[in-house]
Symmetry: C2
Subunit: 411 residues, 2 copies
C-alpha cells in the first residue's frame, strides 16, 4: 500500500502566515470598518523598475515571432543573465566565480528549500534562531531531524541563538555540525554578521569539513560599507560555502520569481567510498532533472537591472524602502520601544514592551492600532519576546502606522 512521507507529520499543523491571515480575517469580520495597515509579510509594494518592464515587453514580443521565439532554455539559466550576475555581483568585487558555478532559478525559497536534497541524511544541521522557516522545515520534511520537542525545538538540530544579548551574532556550536544555514542580512532580525564573525564561521566550516548555506537574499539592502555583501568576500569561503541570491527584494520580483545559487566547484562533500564529490555537480544534476529553467521573459527582466539605468532604478527602489525603515525605527524609538535592524535590511526587529509574548503583542497591535506585524516566535523559539515589522509598505501607510504606534498604542 502507498505510504506517506512520515516526516511531514513532524511539522506543526499551523504555518505562521496562515495563522496571521486567520487572526486578521477574524478581526476584520468583527470590525469591518477597521483600516488595517499591513507591515507583516515581507512582500514588496512598489512597481517593478521601468527597465524590467521594458525588457519584459521586448521579451514577450520575441515570443510572438518564430525567428525570436524561445523554447527550452538552459536549465541553469541563460548566459546573458549569468554573465551579468557574475560581472556585477562577483567579478567587480574581486570575487572569482565561474559561469558554470551560477544557477538561475525561480527564487531563493525554492533554492534554499531544495539545496538540502544533495546532502546525505546523516548530516547534522545548524540554523540560527530565529530565522526564515524554510531551512528547518525542508530538513524536517527530508528526515534530517527528529520530532519537535515540547519546547518548540526539533530533536537532532543545532539551534544557534541570536538575540540582543549576543548582539545577534550567534556563537559557534559546541557540538560538531555539517550544514550551517546563515541568513545575512537576517530575516527576521534585520541584522548582519560582521566580517570578523563570518570569518569565524568560514574557519569553523573549513576545520570541520562543514558547508555554509549562505542566504544573502537581502544583500542589496546593506548600507554600511564594512558589511560583506557576499560570503565569498571572506577568504576560504569558496571552499565551503554555497550562496543564495534573489531578485525578489532587490528589484521587486516577489511575484515575478527569479533568484540564483552559487556553488563553487571547490565545495565538496564526502561520498561513501571516501572520495570527494563536488556539490556543484550534484546541484547541476538536480537542477537539470527536477527543474526546467526560469521563464525566458523573467530572465530578461532580471538581467535588465544590471544596466546602468537598471542599477540607478533599483537603488532608488531600495532607498524608498530604507527610508520607510528609518521612519519605523525612529518612530519606535520615540515611542519608547527598543528595536534592531533596519540599517542593512528592510526588517525592523523590536523587543516587545514588558517582555510580552509575541503573539500577545500581535493581537494588541492588531486590535489597538490595526497594524499587522509578524510575531517573533514564528521564526523560532528565540524569537519569543520579539516582533517583526517590514519596511516594504508604501510611504504613506508606513507613516500612518508609526503615528498610530506613537500616539494610540498603550504600552
Amino acid at each position: 500500500m502507498a505510504t506517506i512521507n512520515q516526516n511531514y507529520q513532524k511539522l506543526p499543523g499551523c504555518y505562521l502566515f496562515a495563522e496571521i491571515a486567520r487572526r486578521v480575517a477574524a478581526y476584520k469580520e468583527a470590525h469591518p470598518e477597521a483600516d488595517i495597515i499591513r507591515l507583516g509579510i515581507g512582500d514588496v509594494t512598489q512597481p517593478l523598475p521601468q527597465v524590467c518592464i521594458d525588457a519584459m515587453h521586448k521579451a514577450v514580443d520575441e515570443m510572438a515571432h518564430q525567428e525570436t521565439f524561445r523554447g527550452y532554455g538552459p536549465e541553469q539559466g541563460y548566459p546573458f543573465l549569468i554573465e551579468a550576475i557574475r560581472e556585477h555581483n562577483y567579478t567587480k568585487r574581486g570575487i572569482q566565480i565561474a559561469s558554470d558555478e551560477i544557477f538561475v532559478s525561480d527564487g531563493s525559497k525554492s533554492d534554499t528549500g531544495n539545496i538540502q536534497e544533495i546532502f546525505g541524511l546523516d548530516n547534522k544541521v545548524a540554523i540560527t534562531d530565529p530565522v526564515y522557516p524554510v531551512y528547518l522545515d525542508t530538513n524536517v520534511m527530508a528526515g534530517r531531524t527528529g520530532e519537535m520537542q515540547e519546547n518548540g525545538y526539533f530533536a537532532g538540530v543545532t539551534y544557534l541563538p541570536s538575540n540582543a544579548d549576543n548582539g545577534f551574532t550567534p556563537d559557534l556550536p559546541k557540538e560538531h555540525v555539517d550544514m550551517i544555514y546563515l541568513c545575512c542580512p537576517n530575516n527576521p532580525t534585520g541584522t548582519t554578521l560582521s566580517r570578523e564573525a563570518l570569518t569565524k564561521w568560514v574557519n569553523y566550516a573549513k576545520e570541520n569539513d562543514a558547508v555554509i548555506l549562505f542566504d544573502a537574499a537581502y544583500a542589496a539592502y546593506i548600507s554600511e560599507p564594512e558589511v560583506p555583501r557576499s560570503i565569498y568576500e571572506i577568504p576560504g569561503a569558496t571552499d565551503c560555502a554555497i550562496e543564495f541570491r534573489s531578485f525578489s527584494k532587490t528589484a521587486g520580483f516577489t511575484g515575478t520569481r527569479c533568484g540564483y545559487t552559487v556553488i563553487p566547484k571547490t565545495v565538496t562533500g564526502k561520498a561513501a567510498d571516501g572520495s570527494r564529490v563536488r556539490f556543484r555537480d550534484l546541484w547541476n544534476r538536480r537542477h537539470t532533472t527536477k527543474f526546467n529553467g526560469t521563464a525566458y521573459i523573467v530572465q530578461r527582466g532580471a538581467a535588465a537591472i544590471y544596466t546602468d539605468e537598471g542599477q540607478a532604478q533599483i537603488k532608488e527602489l531600495i532607498s524608498y524602502y530604507m527610508e520607510n525603515a528609518r521612519i519605523i525605527r525612529e518612530g519606535l524609538k520615540s515611542a519608547g520601544i527598543t528595536a534592531y535592524g533596519g540599517i542593512n535590511a528592510p526588517y525592523i526587529w523590536l523587543k516587545t514592551p514588558n517582555d510580552m509574548p509575541s503573539w500577545d503583542f500581535f493581537d494588541k497591535l492588531l486590535t489597538e492600532v490595526n497594524i499587522v506585524g509578524t510575531p517573533g516566535a514564528g521564526f523560532g523559539p528565540c524569537g519569543e519576546g520579539y516582533f517583526r515589522l517590514t519596511s516594504f509598505g508604501d510611504r504613506e501607510n508606513t507613516k500612518r502606522a508609526v503615528e498610530r504606534i506613537k500616539t494610540q498604542l498603550h504600552i
Copy 2:
C-alpha cells in the same frame, strides 16, 4: 563532515540529451557545412499564441503601476487560472475537481520530479519502459531504488515493458507496487492507453492501495474521441490518481514555464500509525514550503488560452504540429520503416530497420542524412531498437527531413 546524497552516485554519468548534443557537436565540427535538421528534443518551434502575448503584455503593464502591481501570489496559483483550468479541463467534461485540488506550477518536469517527495521511501515504484526519464531518476535520487544493474535496470523498480508486441499497453505487474507512473499520451512512444486499459490500472490501484501518477502533458494532442483526456474519466480514479498537465506543448510554453498538478482529496496514503493522510495536504505543504508560486505574468499568459479565441489559437497550433506528425508518419511508411504514434501525440516512434541498435541508428541518421532524432534506448531498456522523431519542427524542415529519409537513407 558534510556527506553527499549517495543516491546520486547511482545515476549513470551521461544524460541522454547531453550525449546527443555531444555527438551532434562533434559531427558539426568535422562537417561545418552540414545542414542539420533537429527532430530530436521535444521542444516546440512555433511562436506563442497571440492571446498569450496580449495577456502577458497586459500583465507586464500591471507590474509597472503600484495599484495593479502583484507581489507574492498564492503558492497554489491564482484563482483566475485555477478556475479556468477547472472549468475547461474538468467540469466541462463531467469531472468533479475542487479548486483546492489544483496546484499551478512552473511545469510538469518539476511536478513529476517533486511529487515522489510526499511518498514514503518504502513504496515500490513501477514505471513503463520506455518512458520520460524524470520519474525514474528522481526516485533514484530519493533513494527509492537500488543500484543500476548491468542490463540497465535499477534494482527495486518494477519496469512495465511497452512495445509493439503488446501494442504499447503494458501488462499489470505480477508483484505488488505502490506508485505507478503512467505517461499518456506516452513520451516517447506517442501511443495512448485505451479506456479499457486505464480502467484495469485504476482497478489495480484501488485493489492494491496504490497511487497512479498520471502524466498527461500531451493530452491536448489526443485526436481520437474514444481516448480519455484525463485519468479522471475512469470511474474510481479520483480515489487513486494524481494527474499532471502542462502548457508546454499545449500552448508552446516550454520556455515560458507553466503546468499544474491535480490531487483529489480522496487520494490518501497510509501513515505510520495506520491512519490515512491526504496526499493533497502533503503536496500543499510541500508546494507552500519549497515553492513560491508561478510568475503572475506567466499565469496570465496561461489563462488566456481558455478564452474562445485562445482555444481556437491552440487548436491551430496543435494542428500544425500534428500535420507534421502525419508527414513524418507517412514518409516513414513509404520509406519502408515501421512507425507508431503520431495520431494522439506529437511523437513518432519508429522501429529501427533490421533491429539496428538505437544509438547506431542515431549515428546513421546524423551522418547519412544530417537528421537528429532520439535513440529509444535513452528512454529505458525496452526502447532499444526504437527511435523517436518529434513533430515540433517547422513544416519546411519536417518535409525536408522526410524527403531525405525517403531518398538518401540507406536502409
